[in-house]
Point group: C2
Chain length 331, copies 2
DNA sequence: CTGAAAGCGCTTACAG
DNA sequence: CTGAAAGCGCTTACAG
């Protein structure tokens, strides 16, 4: 399996009878006589020549690599986002490099620097996010996508999470629920803070609502345990608002394990509306956020920023939508 | 947001008062006097110097990049594999580049070549797989992981899928089922062919089994439609063996949509045992294959191959295990 | 329109 | 143990 020596632009040039720089020009759209271009492209096609990305990024101003920071790939939410981002980037001839939770923030930063990424789409920001600040500190353009950071001067895109919380509250209050628990995501994550705020504002406006709040870090297992605890308590809630769908699934399963009937004894509302939620076996009432659109806009903001570094900052807030299904019922 | 100029090894060398090649030696473990090393590392730390990966792969024999071909990231199966692979690679200071279905096979190949990957872990092989052959044709080492290819001279790792099929058959036959449908994956995928073979061998040995077979491409929607069709037929099956868990979920949901009670009227067996399957709301009887271990071994086979290109080929077959849950019952 | 040349930031022999 | 030098495969001014 001896590595077949790779064809280089020098060899293409030789065989086409031109200078190496002409090959480069043909490939990068410089001005070349039609006949010369034809001759070069013929040789390029003959060998299916692929210019070395390493050489390109070494000499060029751009690496063509975009870093995407996504801590937890196993939340079904994220593969959908990655796919949407990849699609946009691939359409522009760019590539994506993933920074996930298999590495520490330090390692992630080192990676992004070594790779020379042109910019970073950050999806997992939390308050005082050290990584986002440090990436920017190295002069790498950052876009905050999905989760945002107040006072962080960067392009940002997020769902209208305050409204999401309000819609959830409205729905549960309309059904007559007054003893409600909120299974929050991550303290310091904008999504969780905004959803919580929207819910509280609407819930508080209604008086006499007993609202329990706890944080489960957007994590299935943590939410599962938390809900088991709630259901075993003296006065268990009649309804749950979970800050994402994954925790709502945990709630549904915890209820099943505890023999609590949903929605008869317990109503559950999620947030996200990932594909799983519409499965008949789940059929989760939730608030939809436009996942793929958030991802797409995140990448587009970054590409726009790279194209025009001095353009004014943008902050996009995308609409959410209540999706009533069968995990909620009147109290 | 002017790109802060990146620190290079030349600057580190100047500040440490040594030659640039000495910096390189310190970083790559060449022989350097302790005092010299100390001085260099001090400056390296001061700037948190990160050597350019582009320059490294341009000049070095290795790029440190491993290609991973995974067509469908949204099957919950694959994020688990990617994570396991990333963990191994990251531990070795290597990185991973993903080839998914957002690009064609041609584009994937071009990408892997431009990036100069050191090797490729292939998880989605199908018979006469053009991509795997072409990657190898370019002298890039390939490991077949999860799905294998007969007659393809490469290291391979897979689950014992024949046994998986046999275990599923045994279970359903023991429960008395004689009218069974098999929802197959992909014609030409080793996993599907082996699981099918194992099931048929065991099922056929029992006489008088009416076995319907159809292919749903390991796809949720296709399986959903197929099962709706089966259940609407004149003599619907009393049991289903689905070649992966995702199609089994589709079956469960299709049954729910059709008002068919599982397991009372229909038994469903899957294959994989991804985390979802143990959720109370799903609780799928299935055959577990060691997902993370398959992924890990796949990467290890590749790393071993890179370390010793002339070692004899290896073909690992990892054990599977029947997992009885609540989607199956006596006929 | 085209070629010759410099240079991107490293690793790796080659001397000493 | 250490430095000077070549060279990886490109892009990009610079001449002509």
């Amino acid at each position: 399996m001896a590595r077949r020596p790779t064809v280089t632009s020098v060899q293409i040039a030789r065989e086409a009878g031109v200078a190496q720089s002409t090959v480069s020009r043909v490939l990068n759209g410089g001005s070349v006589a039609p006949e010369t271009r034809r001759r070069v492209l013929e040789v390029v096609a003959k060998y299916d020549f692929q210019p070395s990305q390493a050489a390109r990024s070494l000499v060029g101003a751009r690496s063509g690599l975009i870093g995407v920071v996504i801590r937890d790939l196993t939340n079904p939410f994220y593969p959908v986002m990655v796919k949407a981002m990849e699609r946009v980037l691939h359409g522009q001839g760019l590539r994506l490099t993933l920074v996930t939770d298999v590495m520490t923030a330090d390692e992630g930063l080192a990676l992004l620097r070594r790779e020379g990424v042109d910019g970073v789409v950050f999806t997992s920001a939390v308050r005082d996010e050290p990584l986002a600040h440090r990436i920017r500190g190295h002069g790498i353009p950052v876009v905050l996508c999905h989760r945002t950071l107040e006072g962080f001067a960067a392009d940002q895109v997020e769902a209208d999470n305050v409204t999401a919380g309000r819609l959830a509250a409205e729905h549960l209050l309309d059904l007559g629920h007054r003893r409600i628990a909120m299974v929050c995501g991550l303290a310091g994550a904008s999504t969780s803070e905004q959803r919580g705020r929207g819910f509280r504002e609407r819930g508080g406006a209604c008086g006499e609502v007993a609202l329990t709040e706890l944080y489960a870090g957007y994590d299935y297992d943590a939410a599962y345990d938390a809900v088991r605890g709630l259901l075993a308590g003296a006065e268990p809630p009649t309804a749950l608002f979970c800050h994402n769908d994954v925790m709502a699934y945990a709630a549904l399963n915890a209820a099943a394990a505890a023999g609590v009937a949903v929605p008869r004894e317990l109503s559950v509302v999620g947030c996200d509306d990932v594909p799983l939620s519409s499965w008949e076996r789940i059929d989760l009432t939730t608030v939809r956020q436009p996942l793929e659109r958030i991802a797409r806009v995140g990448v587009e903001l970054l590409l726009d920023r790279l194209a025009d570094p001095d353009a004014p900052l943008r902050h996009e807030v995308l609409p959410v939508e209540f999706v009533g299904r069968s995990t909620t019922a009147p109290v």
